[in-house]
Symmetry: C2
Subunit: 390 residues, 2 copies
């Protein structure tokens, strides 16, 4: 039988990149492609102990239907951590669901959605289903340029940004840029969607003010437990102005009724006694070491003309190859040499810069980072020397 898909669904396609990257699960491949956190960092013992407590004392709550807004003690814990009212907090099935539901309640076909250059691919995918017109804001190493919010962006649906250790670039928005961006958005009545999965991952522990804290009624904030507890729980949250939170809850009810009770109760029982802060310290230390190892290896091996940033947190480094090299075209050869990365082109809502790529160091031990970077450096040097790969 022929099944006719909706117009929005016809736009969904499988990416060639994803097909290439499927092979990177082979153990001999050094993968800088994943956005996965390091599994060694999961607080497995603490979660196991919490799980025993949950089944002994809170089994009915963990196994029964629950409120769409989320498990009340977890919402209160999140609110306290962010200095806000639990009524503004909605627990989501990962922060990806937050992106999907914000798209659902905010985007009409043709609405303008403002994004960074480059921007997070998962957000582009989630929003795309609601058929917006993306507009990529000019951006520099500090994030989007506030001056880009002018008459030409009037009437936009919202601005989507990751101020902390952005995926894919690893860049962080400085305090002055945050203030400037929020002020200009506020003046223009422009909603900001602040996506903050990596906010806790500053290697020196410094937390810059969230955009939300600068204008709580003009920012919808998305947080996540995926990078600081465990992604397999699929737990994130929205903090939003009350009217938006209420509409979001209605949409969530139609989307999955509520996030699993079990994972919410388990996460709350795991973090209530302060586990998370120790856990975050461990994750920061691990990623700082691995980031350092990759920066050292890049400096040692990369040929002249290759540029990269020096992230102060998060999981990613962004590489820019000399103009003329195409990171997407070189990926197959890199994978043939058992090293994987993500070409940068897919992260652009506007014109793609084909000579960029994203490296993740999160799951790779330092000695393998050194080996993998050396292989990539050799490949890029050959490409620069004019070798063609088929």
């Amino acid at each position: 039988m022929h099944i006719e898909f909706s117009r929005r669904a016809q736009a969904l396609t499988s990416s060639a990149i994803r097909e290439i990257l499927k092979v990177t699960e082979r153990p001999e491949v050094i993968s800088f492609a994943g956005g996965l956190p390091a599994p060694e960092s999961f607080p497995t013992d603490a979660l196991a102990r919490a799980s025993v407590r949950v089944f002994a004392r809170m089994a009915y709550t963990a196994l029964q239907y629950g409120p769409t807004e989320g498990y009340a003690p977890l919402r209160e814990w999140i609110a306290a951590r962010h200095g806000t009212d639990p009524a503004r907090v909605v627990v989501t099935t990962g922060s990806q669901q937050g992106l999907d539901l914000l798209g659902k309640v905010l985007i009409d076909p043709g609405s303008t959605v403002l994004v960074e250059t480059p921007t997070y691919l998962g957000a582009l995918q989630a929003f795309s289903l609601y058929e917006p017109a993306f507009r990529a804001l000019p951006s520099d190493d500090d994030g989007p340029l506030p001056a880009a919010l002018d008459e030409s962006t009037a009437g936009a649906c919202f601005l989507y940004a990751q101020p902390n250790f952005q995926n894919p670039t690893g860049r962080r928005m400085p305090v002055a840029r945050r203030a400037d961006l929020v002020r200009r958005a506020q003046e223009r009545g422009l909603l900001i969607v602040e996506d903050d999965p990596y906010g806790e991952l500053a290697y020196d522990g410094e937390r810059l003010p969230t955009l939300r804290s600068l204008n709580p009624d003009g920012v919808a904030y998305l947080g996540s437990f995926s990078k600081i507890l465990a992604p397999g729980l699929r737990l994130g949250y929205l903090i939003a102005p009350p009217a938006l939170a209420a509409k979001f809850v209605q949409a969530k009810q139609a989307a999955d009724l509520h996030t699993p009770s079990l994972t919410q109760v388990l996460a709350y029982e795991s973090v209530r006694d302060g586990l998370l802060d120790e856990q975050i310290e461990r994750v920061r230390a691990r990623y700082a070491a691995q980031c350092g190892a990759m920066l050292d290896a890049l400096a040692r091996h990369m040929p002249a003309g290759v540029q990269w940033n020096r992230p102060r947190g998060g999981m990613f480094i962004w590489l820019t190859l000399p103009a003329g090299l195409d990171a997407g075209a070189l990926l197959a050869e890199a994978v043939a040499r058992n090293v994987a990365y993500v070409p940068g082109a897919a992260f652009y809502a506007g014109p793609q810069e084909a000579n960029t790529l994203r490296l993740s160091f999160a799951t790779v031990p330092p000695v393998r980072i050194e080996q993998g970077v050396a292989v990539l450096a050799g490949l890029f040097a050959e490409a620069l020397a004019g070798v063609r790969f088929v």
Copy 2:
């Protein structure tokens, strides 16, 4: 700041009924309103034991990101139970997510969606966000009339049906009706969405053939663990023709990346050794007894002119009051007398029959069922006698 919602979101409203029913959490209220399974039926000990195994042996799998399609052993288990290929199976975050994602990939604004009369409210809510034109098929005690699939329904997006112990009516489609409906849909190239949360809950254990089994390439089947294991896990699944399953997976990736790994691994570890069949027996016996108690109480107490069906499975009985009585208008007075139900009007996509209501016996012990039905019978008798409630 003023936030402009999308057109689809503007259609989302809070229901007055839901507000009234919020008070039914008071312990003195006998609630026939919930669609919740009985928490005493949850296999808590088995899940607790499985949870210990999961954290001891499979913690990384349970805590890390996983495939969008779902945990492979769970997909294989589902496929084996339904006699199909795991490639057709996608695990969902509750079957509510299945409804949402099918709407997303199939419904364009204005598309015709065919539904039963009455039909499941949660499906209407999920599909509504994609702005279809609902068309309610004439239906009888056996489900929708196959003859209603004629020239006038050509070009419809799909037919949505719950053949087993439908929510809200509790009715089951007989075998001949299933065959007739599937044949007519197949002749017309009409996709059927078969929603089957209660399929395992026939009190005598009899399973009628699923619509899917009658035409696997023309039916998208939604299954659920909510009523037979525990709803707090939020675990459901789609079984669909390969092209539809593939598109559904793309939409799911944008919606929540994947269903929590932990709940999937836990469910698989709980059911792999045959727990589910024992568990289903226990649930069936409990609901059969409570359904019987409610049918007895209805026969004893209800005034002449009130009609109801005699379900052979599931969680619901459907009442029809004499014409002129409005179950929605009577709800506030019922709740004031500490008994709650769900008025039937919200379950109609077409003209509403205000004199209908849904009673759930799933969470109420027999002695309270008897008390609650007596109170409702008294109220309806007063209403029939012309007493007005304000």
